[in-house]
Point group: C2
Chain length 328, copies 2
């Protein structure tokens, strides 16, 4: 949860005059996202989310994030749409921070997704990949293969505090991934963080996706591997192959995977599991004094990584490629 910055009422009133959304009715700091300060805001024109970008988000990346949401919303996707100021700009400045106002999305995230939820998430992810294909700005992924080893080194000395011999385990995995990481797969804009908190449902129908602040350019199938890890394991960290099949079917109903992408899923899933293991490990070992955020457990992603290490072929995720391709 995250509200790092207080906003003075007079500066907020002045800020809102830059927009055509009327007067303020209500403002509540909300516990959503860990990178920024978010406020649920009601005005004459309805409900919005006001975001102040804190220092963990690079100001230079904001045109990519806001432009992407605007681009996707213009193509009919249910995602927050930045509200333009009267001068046409989407990026403002409030309380000394870069800021934006986006539309509010109805819906609630699910804690225990069903196979049908997973199918819808897969289909929505495919739609995102297709809709973003002509988005003109590029943002390299700052948390992909070549970043993982330096990220690990920053935790290497203390990672045995989390589990004995974890350092050796991660080094061996890095060696493996650096040898086996696929090249030549389709690349494009990925969400890169489509966890359960970031997908809303209304009456079990997917109603929107939020939090594009990790979006970047990378392998499209890697985004699907991130979702497999985030959605298809149970609370006890066991893998649910029915949910995985459903998610893959949902994705392929919108954007069929190539044979190469399908076959790469196990290594991409290992990479995705390692990426979240490494960031969680870092956050776990570096909780700042007075932190407002409780770090996620790195061991969850260690368990997921171990599962994928035991996967030989992508068929283990519940789908026969020939059948899936033929079913279309």
């Amino acid at each position: 949860m995250a509200v790092y910055t207080d906003i003075r009422d007079d500066e907020l009133a002045a800020y809102l005059t830059l927009y055509d959304i009327g007067l303020l009715h209500s403002l509540k700091g909300i516990a959503e996202g860990v990178e920024n300060s978010n406020y649920l805001m009601a005005t004459d024109a309805g409900m919005f989310v006001l975001t102040l970008y804190e220092k963990r988000v690079k100001a230079a990346d904001l045109p990519f994030f806001l432009g992407l949401m605007d681009h996707l919303a213009a193509r009919g996707m249910n995602c927050p749409r930045p509200v333009a100021m009267r001068n046409g700009q989407m990026l403002g400045r409030l309380a000394g921070k870069p800021s934006a106002i986006v539309t509010f999305l109805d819906g609630v995230s699910v804690r225990r997704p069903s196979a049908d939820h997973c199918r819808q998430v897969g289909a929505q992810l495919a739609r995102l990949h297709l809709s973003a294909a002509d988005f003109p700005i590029r943002r390299p992924n700052a948390l992909t293969l070549e970043n993982w080893r330096p990220l690990f080194e920053s935790s290497a000395e203390r990672c045995h505090e989390v589990e004995p011999n974890l350092g050796d385990f991660i080094r061996a995995e890095l060696d493996h991934l650096e040898r086996r990481w696929p090249s030549g797969l389709p690349s494009g804009v990925i969400h890169a963080d489509l966890f359960r908190d970031n997908v809303f449902f209304l009456k079990d129908e997917l109603s929107g996706i939020i939090d594009f602040y990790f979006a970047c350019n990378d392998l499209l199938a890697y985004d699907l591997a991130i979702c497999l890890n985030a959605w298809c394991f149970e609370q006890d960290w066991s893998f649910n192959v029915t949910k995985a099949r459903s998610m893959l079917q949902g994705y392929m109903s919108g954007r069929p995977l190539s044979r190469q992408e399908f076959d790469a899923l196990p290594v991409l899933a290992r990479g995705s599991a390692l990426r979240f293991l490494l960031t969680r490990l870092y956050d776990w070992l570096n909780v700042p004094p007075g932190a407002l955020v409780v770090p996620h457990d790195p061991l969850e992603y260690l368990a997921k990584l171990r599962f994928h290490q035991g996967v030989d072929k992508a068929e283990a995720y519940g789908l026969d490629f020939a059948d899936a391709a033929g079913a279309r």
Copy 2:
């Protein structure tokens, strides 16, 4: 800010069937109140606040708090009104905690109140005191005169960490207050925590008051003294006598103070300042590891206490009693 408890979507859906407010559209943890977990909730029937009562609130006190809000709302006051379940009960149970749903109030709190804001707060406080006069449940104030010395003793050993000689200063003040605390003044239900965060305005008109979880029975004029301390000092902790006069006039427009109450304001203001100094001191010295709340600065209330120590007569708060009484 405070969201201590996660709610599973399935248990929330089941809980909402106990109410007649339709299906869930949206749920956001909000940064409001430090004692409980609060969620802004939209359903078919509109906007509500869902509260889970955490362990700092005694379950035995909940009928007082919920009953008081219901009582005041029934008398036309703009405060959150508990929504009754189909079975007539206001107090429920969710995620293993006592819980309630109350109506949502429009409005925003002001950071830098004007004299007119202070006048409205005074008038609203008087209205609360009058409206609650026939509320049948009683709740003794757990943070009044006789509780202050034991509360201080729990911080006494380490209070020099906040300021040198603070212990001697507080002991002398306790001696003074125990000798001079007034008796025989009108008593009733007080809000006891009507700080700026707990009062909403819309276009500079007071639109509601919230957070009744310190409400209790005590001297009515003591509640006014709490508000003088919370509203009539500037950001640099200097006293603004124009705002104080305005607040007293607002209060007396609804409920005239007796001569005895008026004359007691300086000692009540000292007591109120000491009460918040002591709780802030305790919280400051006892921040739990992993705390989600940044404690308030105890020195703010030390400065306010010192100001009131220099006040000889209540006229120093900007109002001549005979004039104020005659003006009605």
